[in-house]
């Protein structure tokens, strides 16, 4: 069926494209009328050709299951999500500000611990953090930056306000899908690019390379930068390979690297070649079997020695994950004030810490209204969606919280914003979030837009691709043009 925006079922949530039935938002006006001009058949045709393009381009991700690891085609909805440039500029500033404060925090907790001495941040939270690495205490990475690449999850509440849901500072993934989504849209809707001024996303790989090159221990124009992957069986392997390809650097596995005299080398057909910067996509604990998990076959023995001596740079730095903790998250607005003496541009989602008795009691009494998250998990695992859970599930979860309060925090269920997706019949709203990527090196960069993830099931809030989520191309559009 042809799309008629007058029939579009706007709900309670803020919709990114349609403000009320029949009324597209200003930045989305062209897009909405274009989509409505397509016949139902044409629309399904475009959808099919997007699926074909994804197959051919081999855009895939890996799902772990009992039956083995399955390589799945990337789920994609063809209707782009639109953000106006004016709004984005403010968001961008907020993200840069946030990462700058987070980096100050990480550098501080591994060195002087001023923020604890000044009683802005409680020491016990640090002591219990599973991502704090005592091995890194006293380390001073180049430029004072620990987290060079950050993927922050943003959601928009029912008023349309962007809020930060979490900051991913360990090995955030998804940026390659952001880049590939744009390519797919160009293949499927080439005509749309004529009538919109859309900010290009293609600069990311160059900016990433510049960020990495800036922290090289050897002062070279083109230091030897590599991407370290756990290998082809990792769910994000596609991305690792993609980024290496786009930056024109080697994609290495642990077995390709060797440490001699506290210096890292890779095994090449010419013999050993020195490595300056490693963009590692392996978790801290697997990096170096000498220092962390002795059973790790993914890592490189001696890598930490080389890093601590300053002979190789690691991005993100080991230990940066200390700020990637859902309890630490609640202190980010305080950090911004403390380190930068600025007001936070982007607000957090209101949060309750379960290690505080008063807040915990509130959480336990209101489990049916809250989303409870474990402090150190990612990918949407181990969460309780209070309003949708059964009484039994809530009771079981209450026990878990009481047993280990430090491990949990709770947030009110935010009505995530929606955007239309193509369904077999026409277009319906689905909940979405947004993961922009922020780089900090000598300069800071933010991707224009980011990866929009979609909960493809009606009414669902789960956007993770490992759990059936999909994605959309995200356009930051210059208004008033054309």
């Amino acid at each position: 069926m042809q799309i008629d925006w007058r029939d579009y079922a706007c709900g309670e949530a803020y919709d990114e494209l349609i403000s009320s039935p029949g009324n597209p938002r200003k930045a989305a006006r062209h897009l909405a009328s274009y989509l409505a001009s397509l016949s139902g058949e044409e629309l399904q045709d475009r959808k099919l050709s997007a699926e074909l393009a994804i197959k051919t381009m081999g855009i895939s991700f890996t799902v772990y299951s009992d039956a083995g690891n399955i390589d799945r085609d990337w789920p994609f909805d063809i209707i782009p999500r639109i953000i106006s440039q004016r709004e984005w500029q403010k968001t961008e500033r907020g993200l840069v500000q946030r990462l700058a404060a987070l980096n100050c925090f990480i550098d501080d907790v591994y060195n002087d611990r001023k923020i604890i001495k000044d009683k802005v941040f409680p020491e016990e939270l640090l002591a219990d953090s599973s991502n704090f690495r005592p091995e890194c205490v006293g380390m001073k990475p180049a430029l004072g930056v620990w987290a060079h690449v950050c993927g922050s999850d943003l959601i928009r509440d029912h008023k349309g306000q962007f809020r930060v849901l979490e900051d991913n500072l360990r090995v955030p993934s998804g940026v390659s899908y952001m880049l590939e989504n744009r390519k797919v849209t160009k293949r499927v809707f080439p005509e749309l690019f004529e009538n919109h001024a859309i900010l290009p996303v293609t600069e990311y790989p160059n900016q990433l390379f510049d960020t990495l090159a800036a922290i090289s221990p050897r002062p070279l124009d083109f230091p030897e930068v590599v991407v370290l992957t756990p290998g082809i069986y990792n769910s994000a392997y596609f991305e690792h390979s993609y980024l290496a390809q786009q930056m024109g650097v080697e994609l290495v596995e642990g077995t390709d690297l060797v440490v001699e005299d506290d210096t890292v080398y890779m095994r090449t057909i010419n013999g050993l070649a020195r490595v300056d910067v490693i963009y590692r996509r392996i978790d801290d604990l697997f990096l170096d079997p000498e220092m962390f998990n002795p059973d790790s076959v993914l890592g490189v023995p001696g890598l930490m020695r080389a890093w601590l001596k300053g002979n190789v740079a690691l991005a993100n730095a080991p230990g940066a994950g200390v700020a990637d903790d859902k309890l630490v998250y609640t202190f980010v607005p305080d950090m911004i004030k403390y380190y930068l003496d600025e007001d936070p541009i982007l607000p957090n989602v209101p949060s309750y810490l379960c290690n505080d008795k008063k807040q915990r009691d509130y959480v336990l009494a209101n489990l049916d209204k809250l989303v409870v998250k474990p402090a150190n998990e990612s990918g949407g695992y181990g969460m309780l969606m209070g309003p949708q859970a059964s009484k039994k599930e809530r009771e079981a979860f209450a026990q878990k919280i009481k047993a280990n309060p430090r491990n949990y925090m709770a947030q009110p269920l935010i009505e995530l914003s929606t955007a239309p997706v193509v369904t077999p019949r026409n277009a319906e709203p689905r909940h979405i979030d947004l993961r922009p990527f922020i780089l900090q090196g000598r300069e800071s960069h933010v991707t224009p837009g980011g990866l929009t993830r979609v909960a493809m099931t009606k009414g669902s809030y789960v956007v993770n691709s490992s759990q059936g989520g999909g994605s959309k191309d995200t356009w930051v559009v210059v208004e008033g043009d054309k």
Partner: protein, 326 residues
């Protein structure tokens, strides 16, 4: 270039070439059948022997196997490590691992080819459809070769792909010569002569399986005969699928790579022995032993290449993929 990547890209070259050869073999046998009178059985089983996968064939005597069974085994059997589908899936896995090295279009081509073949192979048991599908496989692999020649820097990675391709090609040609002589030579030395009137047709099909017929006719004026065909396929320096030429290409690739002395020594030795072999004498005494030996020498070139450039512990060689491919 990383040793691990060199290894994988080399195997990608080999698997792509092996896929093409597999398609050629099956296709030519199908055509040959149409030229022979009813009642004369040309063993479909010889295809299995040529590809050296007899050990994986679990449906009885290869010589007695019928067309359907053999075609399915050669093209789509997951248990046959050299089936077309497995070759393509391994080529694809290796390409996926080295995706940052090869041009994007090359990866898309391999990926597309694999997905297409996977979807259409079940249809290709019937002869008509089979020809179309296999011809497409051959064409697209040649397109792949052309795409690399035209769009990929002729760097070390490119040399490793060509190294893999030429080594595989030399190996396959020896197998085809071996199979041709095994089927055809008995009556040359006074054995079973049922097939004798059709010798000509059979040797022509051997040439056709390597797209060599036309080039052979330009080169050899005489009618198609065992001695000339074997000489052409082993010793010709100009025909791309002749063993001597493939080894020459291999030599040229290796020369451009660092530290290539040991590998080069292995290749030049084999090439010299191929070029100076006394074919008429070998045809009398039995080609089989000579070819078996040649295949061992080719395998040794691979070992030299591996020990010079690849990682000390080979992470993937014969079975590059454990993922479930859906």
């Amino acid at each position: 270039m990383l040793s691990r990547v060199a290894e994988r890209i080399y195997w990608m070259g080999r698997y792509m070439e092996r896929s093409e050869n597999m398609a050629r073999l099956v296709n030519v046998n199908s055509h040959l059948l149409m030229d022979l009178p009813k009642g004369i059985r040309v063993g479909w089983g010889s295809l299995i022997n040529i590809s050296g996968t007899g050990d994986y064939f679990r449906r009885g005597d290869t010589e007695l196997a019928d067309e359907r069974t053999v075609v399915r085994f050669m093209l789509s059997d997951r248990d046959n490590p050299s089936s077309l589908l497995n070759n393509l899936s391994w080529a694809r896995e290796n390409a996926r691992i080295t995706r940052e090295i090869i041009p994007m279009e090359a990866w898309e081509l391999i990926n597309d080819l694999y997905l297409d073949v996977k979807d259409n192979l079940s249809k290709s048991v019937a002869r008509r459809e089979r020809n179309r599908v296999l011809q497409q496989v051959i064409t697209r692999i040649q397109q792949f070769t052309g795409l690399l020649a035209g769009c990929m820097s002729h760097n070390s990675a490119y040399d490793f792909i060509r190294t893999g391709r030429n080594l595989e090609r030399a190996d396959m040609t020896t197998r085809i010569v071996d199979a041709g002589s095994a089927n055809l030579l008995p009556h040359l030395t006074g054995g079973d002569d049922v097939l004798e009137p059709y010798d000509n047709i059979l040797w022509m099909s051997v040439l056709r399986s390597l797209s060599a017929y036309q080039m052979y006719r330009q080169h050899v004026q005489d009618r198609v005969n065992a001695e000339d065909v074997v000489t052409f396929l082993l010793q010709d320096g100009l025909f791309p699928r002749a063993v001597s030429h493939s080894l020459g290409e291999l030599e040229a690739c290796l020369k451009k790579l660092p530290n290539s002395d040991d590998a080069l020594r292995a290749v030049t030795g084999v090439r010299r022995r191929v070029r100076t072999a006394d074919i008429p004498a070998l045809l009398q005494t039995g080609l089989k032993e000579y070819i078996d030996n040649l295949q061992l020498e080719i395998a040794d070139i691979h070992r030299q290449i591996a020990s010079t450039w690849f990682l000390p512990v080979a992470p993937l060689e014969a079975t590059p993929s454990e993922t479930v491919i859906t």
